[in-house]
């Protein structure tokens, strides 16, 4: 299967990735080849097989008790943030 430039534009937008002009043809080519490659899976007979979502069969997802374990450390965590003011993360204006 061959992906087009507009397919790549759409995927890149869904993934919120800005691509340069030079990158686009590279991804058109390599993603097309990867999609062909994974198309080999069509060979497998999988009728009636349950999709495997967890590598340890029979183990249910564990839930923790609904109690507070974490203390407020936002100042510490926000030291890695690019832009913070009054304990809030700053982003460009969303509403006019």
């Amino acid at each position: 299967m061959s992906l087009t430039r507009s397919d790549i534009d759409k995927i890149a937008h869904l993934a919120r990735l800005e691509l340069t002009e030079a990158e686009i043809p590279i991804y058109v080519d390599s993603l097309s080849r990867i999609i062909d490659f994974v198309g080999e899976l069509d060979r497998a007979e999988t009728q009636g097989i349950t999709p495997m979502a967890h590598p340890l069969p029979g183990l249910a997802q564990r839930l923790r008790a609904d109690v507070v374990l974490e203390i407020d450390q936002h100042e510490r965590f926000q030291r890695n943030a690019p832009q913070v003011e009054a304990g809030l993360y700053l982003v460009p204006k969303v509403l006019e």
């Binding site: 995927i11 991804y27 080849r33 899976l41 097989i49 340890l56 183990l59 030291r79």
Partner: protein, 489 residues
């Protein structure tokens, strides 16, 4: 003070020397720091060296050793793959995206190794976000193979493997999503163990594909791996997939007899893609096992050839979801002068991620997108089930599977970067264990034209003790694991 001849000892040997006060942890740590500094321009195995903190921790360890109250690994220096969060220390995951990220907390693996007394030397280089099989996708440049610096060390834990091979550290932590511990261990001639999914906490281990990722170790010997695995294994309430099962003393059964052990040879592991020089080394290793009393059984996993395409649906799908957290808002790289929130996301991510990471995020986005989810993602999850059933059936006839870790020895830097699928096929023998959540190891079993060859072991869930025993008995009969590249001997 002259440098200690650390290259001649395993981690177990160094721990013993510390206990018996043959040398101090400060002397030992300084020796490894010097080896790292002199090798760095050649190998590029580290992203960060925590020189002063290492010497300070070593001095503390020496005081505890003097008081005789120290746990077994006190004062032993180790390296951490730069995927593990380390409090107050740069944690980059090999990416420009995190090139400014100082972790506010320690990964559970890091905490447990600290509590066991180890001293951190620094953070090992790796493929960006663990996506790669050659260490060439690192934002911080490729790592070189200590056996031949024109060659790749394998990946994604290439820095960890090169560091142990060149004896820049006696052991290093590592992670394995599709072979990222075992393949570099094979290519660098060292021992690597990827435990059962859920055995080792993933808390603080930067996520790539959460149903496949598992932390583990790269070491000189199986005995060293047993010592360290005991320290990092076990239930962690902070990882919801951590398994609540007791951790055995992995060192207690290392010397057990192999009489009657059934070794399964998976037909699909000996396919046309296997380099005949590697196959010859694997067959020689099998004769060693026969001498040790093991019997060889032929088994087949007919769906195993589909493991690479299965992986390249499942892993990118999970990666596209996990890496959505890098948004330029809370941490990591942020673009200059964003015009809108979407512009902020798009440019921060476009600039912060490298080519292979973007390729996998887009592959994952595509296979999860409307209209393709059933055809690709659900189909791959179904084939994953078939592959797991193949392994389960094989373990009805044998105790462990043995075969090659990688189809070839180390290849030249740049040789496989043009075509992603050629690179992906390096992991053809290792991916199956991740899909099925099984533990796997790679141990050195000889050389092909001067480059190391790895023997892979894959066992049933939670059979680490048995696998370490099977690896250790081979290492008592051979000395491949003790060989050190001439430039670092």
């Amino acid at each position: 003070m002259s440098a200690l001849p650390v290259q001649a000892r395993t981690l177990a040997g160094l721990a013993k020397g510390l206990k018996q006060r043959e040398f101090s942890s400060v002397e030992l740590t300084r020796t490894f720091l010097d080896r790292i500094a002199s090798s760095q321009p050649v190998l590029n195995a580290f992203v960060t060296v925590t020189h002063d903190a290492a010497l300070a921790a070593a001095a503390v360890a020496d005081r505890r050793l003097e008081r005789g109250e120290a746990p077994a690994l006190t004062g032993v220096p180790i390296a951490h793959k730069d995927i593990f969060c380390t409090e107050g220390v740069l944690t980059t995951c090999g990416s420009k995206m995190l090139s400014n990220f100082v972790s506010p907390y320690d990964a559970t693996v890091v905490t447990r190794l600290k509590e066991a007394g180890t001293v951190m030397l620094g953070k090992a280089n790796m493929d960006e976000f663990a996506m790669g099989s050659s260490n060439e996708t690192s934002h911080f440049g490729p790592v070189r193979n200590p056996w031949n610096t024109a060659m790749v060390p394998g990946g994604s834990s290439g820095g960890s493997a090169a560091a142990v091979a060149a004896r820049l550290a006696p052991a290093a932590t590592a992670t394995d999503t599709g072979g990222s511990i075992r393949q570099p261990a094979a290519l660098c001639g060292v021992t690597g163990i990827k435990p059962t999914y859920g055995r080792v906490s993933r808390y603080g281990m930067i996520a790539f594909a959460s149903s496949l990722d598992q932390g583990g170790l790269i070491t000189i010997s199986a005995e060293d791996a047993a010592l360290l695995l005991g320290a990092i294994s076990g239930f962690d309430p902070r990882d919801s997939t951590s398994v609540e099962a007791p951790v055995p003393d992995y060192t207690a059964t290392l010397a057990d007899s192999l009489a009657g052990v059934r070794i399964g040879l998976v037909r699909e592991f000996f396919d046309a893609g296997l380099d005949p020089r590697c196959e010859a080394r694997i067959r020689e290793a099998l004769t060693v096992y026969e001498k040790l009393g093991a019997t060889l059984v032929d088994v087949s996993c007919p769906n195993l050839p589909l493991s690479v395409p299965t992986y390249y649906v499942v892993a990118p799908a999970e990666c596209s979801s996990n890496l959505a957290r890098f948004d330029g808002v809370r941490f990591g790289h942020r673009c200059e002068n964003p015009k809108s929130l979407v512009d902020l996301y798009r440019r921060s991510r476009g600039e912060g991620f490298g080519a292979e990471v973007k390729r996998r995020i887009m592959t994952g986005t595509y296979v999860l997108s409307a209209g393709y989810y059933d055809a690709y993602y659900l189909k791959a999850q179904r084939v994953r089930e078939l592959i797991s059933r193949d392994f389960a059936a094989a373990f009805g006839h044998c105790d462990v599977l043995v075969g090659p870790t990688s189809p070839t020895p180390a290849f030249p830097i740049g040789a496989k970067t043009a075509d992603p699928i050629t690179m992906y096929l390096n992991d053809i023998y290792t991916i199956g264990a991740n899909l099925a959540g099984l533990p796997g190891m790679s141990i050195p079993c000889g050389f092909a034209d001067g480059l190391p060859v790895g023997l892979q072991l894959v066992g049933p869930h939670f059979s680490e003790a048995r696998m370490l025993n099977i690896a250790h008995r081979y290492q008592t009969e051979t000395d491949w694991h003790l060989r050190v590249p001439a430039a670092f001997a």
